[in-house]
């Protein structure tokens, strides 16, 4: 099978992007991704779009975006894996290049969520469990799903609301340094604890914002990397995948996400690395508890010790494994289908040491890990990159 590299990347500014439509927003990522690869839209035979959809007026967003970006005629698909739709799109493009079906493929993530009101966004994401048994009568929301995990984690391991707040504080600190982040202000533990409750014990500042944004990566086979004289490819060493039950009530426990554990084991095994080899990671922190569970599920620490990592600064620059140096979903923003692609753009920059020194992870092995969850661990993807 072919080796697959990221040879180009593009990223829009995240936030309220009501001044552009979905296709225009996508162009902001696709154009620089192609340009940085030395390609034009006509060179790319296959494009995948990560987009959960439902927020904007276009039912077939991939077609509209491909046309706007000059990719009409390319093979095309929209991938849905809830908040992991972006990685699902990358995985689809990666599989096409890896199998030799094409030497180049473009993976785009695009989502516009700000054009509908917050209560409707809560409605749409809340329905994304098992509608009949969890939404129709019980009105679950996305924060509520993670709140069930927060309560269980706090009860079993002594994780506190302050620990959760520290995750938000860290991610806002790095987000403030990231020019494309949605929320670019620092916060304090007190501010998190005093913010209004969304679903107990999760408060406003424990939750990621609702964002618009796009990101894109160009994937190439080893042959194409040589042909194009790409100087600094970032190789996709492995992509692990898994899923879990739609009904949250069928989960074994609520202190972790099984799909993350399975996907990471698969990714580590294929890349022949251990968690200790990872220099920098982006993990799915849609809510603060999600980041703490990710530390544990990905093997950065033992089960139940996630809070210690944030207390001891182990996931900051200078710590054992810096996490979410772009601000994470929490501060950078979480345009659902874009997030997985955005993580790979950020990690490509980290591996190439292209970000501001203040938020650059020190590189030893030049290995990075992206962890992208869809729903409450309904979908799980883990990607290992190496420069």
């Amino acid at each position: 099978m072919n080796k697959v590299a990221i040879i180009g990347k593009g990223h829009s500014r995240f936030g309220d992007r009501s001044e552009v439509n979905l296709a225009e927003l996508s162009f902001e990522a696709v154009h620089p991704a192609l340009e940085s690869s030395g390609l034009t839209s006509k060179d790319v035979p296959y494009m995948t779009l990560g987009s959960m959809g439902v927020w904007s007026e276009e039912p077939l967003p991939a077609v509209v975006i491909a046309e706007y970006c000059g990719l009409t005629g390319a093979g095309l698909v929209r991938c849905e894996a809830a908040c992991a739709s972006g990685t699902a799109a990358v995985f689809n493009a990666y599989s096409v290049v890896r199998s030799g079906q094409a030497d180049l493929a473009l993976a785009v993530g695009a989502e516009k969520m700000k054009q509908i009101d917050t209560a409707t966004v809560m409605e749409m994401i809340g329905r994304a469990g098992y509608y009949m048994w969890e939404f129709e009568n019980f009105g679950m929301t996305f924060p509520a799903y993670y709140a069930l995990h927060a309560v269980a984690h706090m009860e079993k391991f002594g994780t506190t609301e302050e620990d959760l707040a520290k995750v938000a504080v860290k991610n806002h600190r790095y987000g403030a340094m990231n020019p494309v982040a949605h929320l670019r202000h620092e916060i304090t533990v007190e501010k998190v604890l005093q913010s209004c409750v969304i679903a107990s014990p999760l408060k406003l500042y424990d939750c990621c914002p609702i964002s618009d944004g796009s990101a894109a990566v160009v994937l190439a086979s080893e042959k194409k990397v040589k042909e194009l004289n790409i100087e600094d490819p970032v190789w996709i060493e492995s992509m692990g995948f898994a899923s879990d039950t739609a009904n949250i009530s069928k989960r074994e426990n609520y202190v972790g996400l099984d799909a993350s554990v399975k996907a990471s084991k698969m990714a580590y095994s294929e890349a022949k690395i251990s968690p200790a080899d990872v220099d920098v990671a982006n993990v799915h922190d849609c809510f603060t508890i999600a980041e703490i569970m990710a530390y544990e599920d990905l093997g950065f620490c033992e089960k139940g010790k996630g809070a210690n990592m944030i207390r001891d600064g182990e996931t900051e620059i200078g710590g054992k494994i810096p996490v979410n140096l772009d601000g994470g979903l929490k501060a950078k923003g979480h345009p659902i289908g874009t997030t997985g692609v955005s993580m790979l753009v950020e990690l490509t920059k980290q591996l190439r040491e292209e970000v501001k020194p203040s938020r650059q992870a020190p590189m030893k092995n030049y290995v990075a890990l992206a962890h992208n969850t869809g729903g409450t661990g309904h979908y799980g993807f883990v990607t290992v990159l190496r420069r």
């Binding site: 700000k114 269980a152 679903a199």
Partner: protein, 143 residues
Amino acid sequence: MSEAPSLKSNRPLTITYNLPISKTTKFWKELKEGKVFATKCKNCGKLYFPPVADCGNCGSSEVEWIQLSGEGKLVTFTEVIVKPASFSKEPSYIVAVAELVEGVKVLAWLTGIEKEKITIGMKVKLEAKVVSDKKFAYEFVLA
């Protein structure tokens, strides 16, 4: 939503879904009688809640109906303060997951208790609940 120039679409979309229950009719009939049922695969013995007509575990479509005792212990919970649009008129509600003595877990509202008094592991009872004339659901109450 921002002030950027935009055109308001003239094509509003209203969708109400019909939720098929022909294969789980007994569940809904029994709820009306105040009973909560699960299904059990006759072939492999797996117990299902929510009830199913087909066993994903072994592929059999031979299932039997089992009435649940309703007795269970609280596993986790949350109070939903910021609600989805279609629940906007509801007061805040507590959603809980409890494990029943039969071994299945159930997600439902927990009523009749303040959030501050809830503890993990406390005994709860799953009961059928009348939502409206034609609608029935289930909820946890204190055991």
